[in-house]
Amino acid sequence: MKKFKKYIKAFELGLQSSMEYRANFALSLISSVFPMIMQIFLWTAIFFNSNDQKILGYDYVHMISYIIIASIINKLVSTGFEWDISEDIRNGGLNKFITRPIGYFSYRVFSFLGSKIMQLAIVSAILAIILTIINSNFSLGINPARILLFLLSILLALLLNTFLCILFSSAAFWMTENWAAFIFMNLLTQFASGGLFPIDILGKRFMRLLDFLPFKYIVYFPTNIINGKLQFEEIFIGIALQCAWIAATIALGKIFWKIGMKKYIAVGG
């Protein structure tokens, strides 16, 4: 237990420093609304200028509710500590972890999750309100079992995204200037996870490609649990695959970090 205490403290410190800057925190929440509003306007314009009830397999209500729910989930599972990690690698901040009896990997994950808690609580509350409104007006068929599975899948999605973030940030070991790589990865993740629009509108062939990648389990999968698109059987398979992807990203991340660390200590921070 004593060994684990340092990670609990790291979690606590992450939580505490996230509460230091209230204005920044509030603005980061508000700013994430804009892309969603843009999307809603865009799809409204498309639907109202078309003669078809359904576009690419979605009717208006389902498209808009997907976009709202997916945007919120996108915020819920967002990471962004790859910048901190690459700073540590570039400026020798890793040194203080190498010389102290603490694991960098675990330390980062715990302090990140700590800093995430506040946002998680507030965004979840907003999501609950919005889901209630949508459900009572258009009946998505939400029931307790679905909510439970949905919450579980969100938690797993957050973990998956966190470990993906660590995996991508190991790029900093090889590239001194890596902001372009991060922006590329962020865009790719947003797009391929279904955080911008439902990815199945891109067609069957594209979906098959995404089956072999972890991204769709970050936003697309949880969103489809709650909006009733998936059967229970599909949900269980999906959750199992989420777990598998988490294990795979942890393993791959560890390998990349091990190689990167070897390079780091050979070259120096």
């Binding site: 205490k5 340092k6 505490q16 230091e20 040194n95 190498i98 010389t99 102290r100 120096g268 921070g269």
Partner: protein, 332 residues
């Protein structure tokens, strides 16, 4: 007493690349980068005993920090051997990490947005220090460094000097047997420098902690270290008492002259190396064995108003060691 730090033929090289001036060469470098090797530390050897304070002195890029990094396990050497507290540092065993600390003046380990006591508490958890011992040590250290009232202040609001004190406290909570300090007084004002210095000296006497520090401030080294290792171009050029550095240059003296009326400066060249000339003043370096005759002649030939004979100052001696380059000198 046996050595707590043992270093033998430690060697470290880095690879880097060069680019000639101009766009053409930038394009060329895009495809082909010529790898070059820099030898940062060339086969150095030394031993340090428990309780010693040893100063590492050397110009920028001499290899001081690289050596400290290898001794603390941050860097892997290209070749050579080192044992610190009986451990090979770059194996990075947790038992080893629990027994030393490294403080880098230009890096911080404290959480920027939170008060220092939070980061200190994190270190308590990291090093698994029990409550009683933690509170006791923290009390003593904050008392000594006079920062008791600052523990609850956000770290970003602290001055550089106060932050350095907190860094020192953070690194001493687990009572390390060895303390590596990389330029602990960099950028601090004279009073803060002195306070940090006094603290390190006191702490070393009380706790018998072995301290290995680098600094560019001669006062740090003079005030703290009995023994100084001067390193230049990756080689140890001097290992011994700082005040005795000049014994290497024992055969020269500095003569400062003041004249009553202008003289032909050129004619001074016959006596020795002219170091400085200003209006009616001149400074020349003369071989010790010639001092007597030279003075007699100078007094006879020139309208000398006043003169002094001095040893080469320590700073000057160090600077001469720096510029001497790779030539190793014998241990004294």
């Amino acid at each position: 007493m046996s050595a707590i730090i043992e270093v033998k033929d430690l060697y470290k090289e880095f690879s880097y690349y060069e680019k000639d001036v101009g766009l053409k060469n930038s394009v060329k470098n895009l495809f082909l980068r010529k790898k070059l090797i820099k030898k940062a530390v060339k086969q150095i050897s030394f031993e340090i005993e428990q309780g010693e304070i040893v100063g590492f002195l050397g110009p920028n890029g001499a290899g001081k920090t690289t050596t400290l990094k290898m001794l603390s396990g941050i860097l892997y050497p290209t070749s050579g051997y080192a044992k610190v507290l009986g451990y090979t540092p770059w194996e990075r065993k947790n038992e080893f990490k629990r027994q030393f600390s490294i403080v880098m003046g230009q890096k911080n380990q404290l959480w920027w947005d939170l008060p220092a006591n939070e980061s200190l508490y994190l270190n308590k958890c990291i090093y698994e220090i029990d409550d009683r011992s933690y509170n006791e040590t923290l009390g003593i250290l904050t008392e000594l460094l006079d920062v008791k009232d600052l523990l609850k202040v956000q770290v970003r609001r602290l001055s550089l000097g106060e932050r350095m004190k907190m860094e020192l406290i953070a690194s001493l909570l687990h009572k390390p047997k060895i303390l590596f300090l990389d330029e602990p007084t960099i950028g601090l004002d004279i009073i803060s420098q002195r306070k940090i210095r006094d603290f390190i000296s006191y702490y070393n006497k009380e706790q018998k902690t072995t301290v290995l520090l680098t600094s560019h401030y001669m006062a740090d080294i003079e005030g703290l270290c009995k023994r100084t290792i001067v390193i230049n171009h990756g080689e140890i050029v001097y290992d011994g008492e700082l005040s005795k550095v000049n014994e290497i240059f024992d055969n020269t003296k500095i003569i400062k002259l003041q004249f009553e009326s202008p003289i032909d400066i050129k004619s001074l060249e016959n006596f020795g190396k002219i170091k400085e000339v200003e209006d009616l003043k001149a400074t020349i370096e003369i071989e010790k064995s010639n001092v007597r005759e030279s003075i007699m002649e100078l007094l006879g030939r020139f309208p000398v108003k006043d003169f002094t004979i001095e040893d080469i100052p320590v700073e000057e001696g160090i600077a001469m060691l720096y510029s001497k380059g790779g030539k190793s000198l014998e241990k004294i």
